[in-house]
């Protein structure tokens, strides 16, 4: 797979001393959907803005399609599309005016703009409303228009900064469907940030978890989930009568089982490396041989939420507080580094 985005040792220190990105490295393959996850203030938006040339990096080697982004900014801008975290639509213009002006800013010809604007607006189901002022659009429509605008110049790489933030479940699904479609039909590389872990899990080929400006983990969602401990099966038995230790060791010998432990209420907790659903039938067969009955069984698979919590060390809802304390500490460190 060819590399679409290469980031090596990216550092960004804002003029006010905030160290937003602190030595980040990752590669994104062509045609990949790559997710950047992390708490508020982790440096996601900053990373995107640097990659599309809106901000200058403090340090680091950055390439898009193998081209140094600092050496050829105009070329990078034509190869990339960007929909910011905050929808940037002029509400005193119509949808059509918004998108066609965008085309002009990418130096497309009038004919190209008409053809493509029609195509993209139809894809995003906005064509019928194109002549209406965007002040009359709903939040979901504005977001869709914003993404549509980012596609007018047919970028090879699309950067979406929290494209589903604040949208209802259906609209979020619609947007993700478009993203999938762009990847399959246009072989577009998609770099996305989100706070919705389930979405990232389903859609992203690989995700990076960024915290305090550093990458804490990077892999496929499945590998990340497996990495933090695999599936857990809870089983309750009856008719064991003193055979506990024998049962426990027999279960421990089943393939992929990593650990077996009784819990306080007599339920056994069986940790499996992967595919817990395939282990359950084996447990049934084993119990039949031993003459033990299974009263209840349940399977819990780790979610990306668990992965996220594992690597960022705090739940999403605590982010703001922790973040502020952290930023203060980091700010002081930054000052100390600069000898102030």
């Amino acid at each position: 797979m060819q590399t679409a985005i290469e980031v090596n040792d990216l550092v960004k220190v804002y003029k006010n001393g905030v160290r937003a990105v602190d030595g980040v490295s990752f590669h994104v393959g062509r045609g990949e959907i790559f997710g950047l996850l992390g708490p508020n203030g982790a440096g996601k938006s900053t990373t995107i803005k640097i990659l599309i040339g809106l901000l200058d990096p403090t340090a680091g080697d950055l390439r898009i399609n193998g081209v140094d982004i600092r050496r050829h900014p105009a070329e990078i801008k034509r190869a990339t599309g960007y929909a910011a975290q905050e929808t940037a639509i002029d509400d005193r213009l119509t949808g059509w005016e918004n998108i066609t002006l965008q085309g002009r800013f990418y130096h497309l010809s009038g004919r190209e703009i008409r053809v493509r604007a029609t195509e993209v607006l139809e894809m995003f189901n906005l064509y019928d409303r194109r002549k209406h002022l965007t002040a009359t659009y709903s939040g979901g429509m504005l977001k869709r228009l914003d993404i549509a605008c980012a596609l007018i110049h047919r970028p090879q790489i699309l950067f979406l900064d929290e494209p589903t933030l604040g949208l209802d479940v259906q609209t979020r699904q619609v947007i993700w469907d478009y993203v999938e479609q762009l990847r399959t039909e246009h072989e577009m590389t998609i770099f996305v940030t989100t706070h919705y872990m389930e979405e990232a899990d389903v859609l992203c080929d690989r995700v990076a978890i960024i915290d305090n400006g550093e990458i804490a983990a990077l892999d496929t969602p499945d590998a990340l989930k497996a990495g933090i401990g695999g599936d857990v099966i809870y089983v309750r038995f009856s008719g064991i009568d003193g055979n506990e230790s024998a049962l426990q060791s027999r279960i421990g010998a089943v393939s992929h089982v990593r650990q077996v432990k009784p819990t306080a209420d007599g339920t056994y907790r069986v940790i499996v490396e992967q595919a817990g659903e395939e282990t359950i039938p084996q447990l049934f067969m084993l119990c039949e041989q031993l003459g033990v009955t299974i009263d209840a069984v349940s399977l819990k698979k780790p979610s990306l939420d668990d992965v996220y919590l594992h690597f960022t060390g705090h739940a999403m809802r605590d982010d703001t507080e922790n973040h502020e304390a952290h930023m203060k500490a980091r700010f002081m460190r930054g000052r100390a580094r600069r000898g102030k």
């Binding site: 910011a84 929808t87 940037a88 002029d90 005193r92 213009l93 002006l101 002009r104 130096h107």
Partner: protein, 260 residues
Amino acid sequence: MTLLFDTWYVAKRELIKFFRTKVRLVFTLIQPVIWLAFMGNTMNRVTNNPFGAQMFGTSNYLTFMTPGVILMTVLFGGVFGGMSIVWDRRIGYLEKLMAAPINRGAIPFGKALAVMVQGAIQVVAIVVIALLFGVRFQTGIGGVLLIIVIASLFSGILSGISLSLAASIRTIETLMAIVNLFTLPLMFASNALFPITMMPGWLATIAKFNPVTYAVGPIRELTIHGWEWGKILPGTGVIVGLTLVFMLISQIVFQRATSE
């Protein structure tokens, strides 16, 4: 080449909105009508006598005041040139523009161009209104065209100043406060509404250096007297020079304010 192209489309966006807001269009015309109808009628008594006529250079105060009204209208339009940049920054559109492969210089240039085109349109309207009020332009169509050019260059100066301020200002309220601080004094400390010879000494001194005075000079010359180049060129030259200077300043300030 792309600078011109980009500048035009940045301006076009503003112009689409300008023509769309019909209420604003009407109001920009009501203002000069009010000035000409009320001020003109009241003041006509002052110029209606030989002494006044000599002082004002014309026996018709409306003729004297029309250049002032033209300047005032483009002045108010020009100072708001920076507002759209503050607004664009607020709604994230500025970032969107800068993520596109446009020449960044086109952003302040385009905003200024839009203001200048709006100014020119307003001047045309005022000229028509003034004609209806009986004002006659001595230099005819040619003179009126030059008046339009000078007035819209003048609005270019103002939008240059306001764009420079706007580049580092984050709220529209702050910009408005600063802008209001200097528009009215700029207007009254000039020869736009009264001849300098009628002013107290200190005000006359300020008025002599006021760019409004430089713009009014050639416009009034073209309106009242005729093609007297010796009186038209100096003021025009100053206005062209100031336009270039403030355009350049707004460019530098903008580039600096948008680099991080």
